[in-house]
Symmetry: C2
Subunit: 267 residues, 2 copies
DNA sequence: CGATCTATTGACGTTGCTCAAGAGTAGTGG
DNA sequence: CCACTACTCTTGAGCAACGTCAATAGATCG
């Protein structure tokens, strides 16, 4: 499989293209989301983790269940070990989920985007196993867990189970990607394509988006040294597959990025 | 951390000790379990995955729920993709759970021992994500999933959720162990100690037990090459920390094995 | 007793980690 | 607004752990 050969990319190595660098990214700064009570015009609607639940639930319950809240960058929503009291769904912004080993280094388990649920890892034993940190200032839908559980049992009995199961599948996919047989290049390519697909699912551009997490977190997510992440990014830019203008990224050649990852792993 | 330094073990490297090799292992061949209807004298009772369920359930339901069945070595209970119809609990024997990537190599997710449940990964979406293969001829408790779900909802409402959640925790632990920062030595040591602890929990010897899985499976579980597994085993025997007499293994120096793994990771 | 699967051992090459030093960027307070 | 500090990122050099390939020995099964 040529996906694992290093520094090949099967294309001429272009010098870091001045014209390319000059070309400004067309991304808008993120619009501040206006917190509305209704879900109807929420941008996350098509991917909202509570979607099924809401569709099966009389509209009158909505306002009882969800309130909105701002949450500052760098702050923690839960720490691993906290007991469960409230679940959240991201309306705008992003979070990382992680846990720390006793030696103090952290294992990043995932990045949460608008529509994703935060805290579902605690549904089974009422205690969080992961810490959740805001990567940027975000807005959240807040749902008291008891109300949520009651409504879920009544209107979507499988919902809780599926949230926990989603966790299994996501983490299994991550474990697969971080297997030794996949090179650093493959992992980073996968990471970018995964983010790209999730942005597309949210109706956002799949080629230009914001990398809200520092390379350190990407490294801890993909189980590699941060220097290696940096080197891969540099290489991808040299081949003009990618263009990074912190904190934004543009994927110039999706096909070549995909060629670095096995078909079967693509999101 | 000196746990990651290779080929040190902080002890004199003993030649493969002839006296040691001659000394026969004291393990009995596994007694064939007699399949009884009652759970009362089942050896797996203290660790049975359905323990909570049974304790909360009138005894009259037991016979309706569980039947026993023999299952031959090498056979598959489910394949990934099968739809869920029956859950099993191991009465005796062992299984491996795994899935295959499109390229054909397999990722082993775990080894199941007596008392462990088989098939719970399908509880959320009624479809198995993993394949289950018997590592030796085994006996199983068979439970039709519909009956089980009904009874669980009635007598132990959190049980289903906890089974799925258990999966999350186990796989997360595995992911942690297979992180790059842990050496091949550390992983194998961890693997042995994990098995040891699980045997102890079942009232069996924690220093002498049967390694029912081939090294190939251990390698795919710990995400390493099978040659590396073999080398570590050899090294551990050279330092007489371990003694292997296929398919049995004896841990001679538990303390030194534990010293190879971080405290925090120990089961 | 041959065929097949499993384990052992050696030689070699490579990927990616570590350590280290420097440049770029952001946040803070005078 | 600028200077100072603290991150974050970049880049290089060296090294070692582990994967790969290959050949052999041992075990298991019909």
């Amino acid at each position: 499989m040529e996906t694992t050969t290093q520094t090949d990319y099967s294309k001429p190595k272009a010098e870091l293209n001045a014209a390319n660098i000059a070309k400004p990214l067309t991304i808008e700064p993120p619009q501040p989301h206006i917190a509305r009570q209704s879900c109807d015009d929420c941008v996350t609607k098509p991917v909202c983790a509570a979607g099924v639940l809401k569709r099966n639930m009389p509209a009158s319950y909505h306002s009882r269940l969800f309130r909105t809240q701002r949450f500052a960058k760098g702050k923690h929503l839960f720490y691993a070990g906290d007991s469960l009291s409230t679940l959240y769904i991201i309306k705008s912004g992003s979070f990382k989920t992680y846990f720390c080993t006793e030696e103090g280094d952290e294992q990043v388990m995932g990045f949460a985007l608008p529509g994703d649920i935060l805290g579902a890892d605690a549904l089974a034993d009422q205690r969080h196993n992961l810490s959740y940190m805001a990567l940027e200032t975000s807005t959240l839908c807040v749902a008291p867990v008891n109300t949520l559980k009651t409504l879920a049992n009544r209107f979507a009995p499988n919902w809780l189970l599926q949230q926990v199961h989603g966790e299994v599948l996501r983490e299994r996919q991550l474990m697969l990607m971080t297997a030794r047989k996949y090179s650093a290049d493959t992992r980073v390519a996968y990471f970018l394509l995964e983010l790209s697909a999730r942005h597309r699912a949210r109706g956002l551009s799949e080629v230009e988006f914001k990398l809200t997490m520092p390379q350190r977190d990407i490294a801890h997510y993909l189980d590699m040294a941060l220097e290696t992440v940096s080197r891969v990014f540099t290489r991808l830019q040299e081949h003009s597959i990618l263009m990074i203008k912190r904190p934004y990224v543009r994927i110039n050649k999706v096909a070549e990025l995909k060629a670095m990852v096995d078909e079967s792993l693509l999101p």
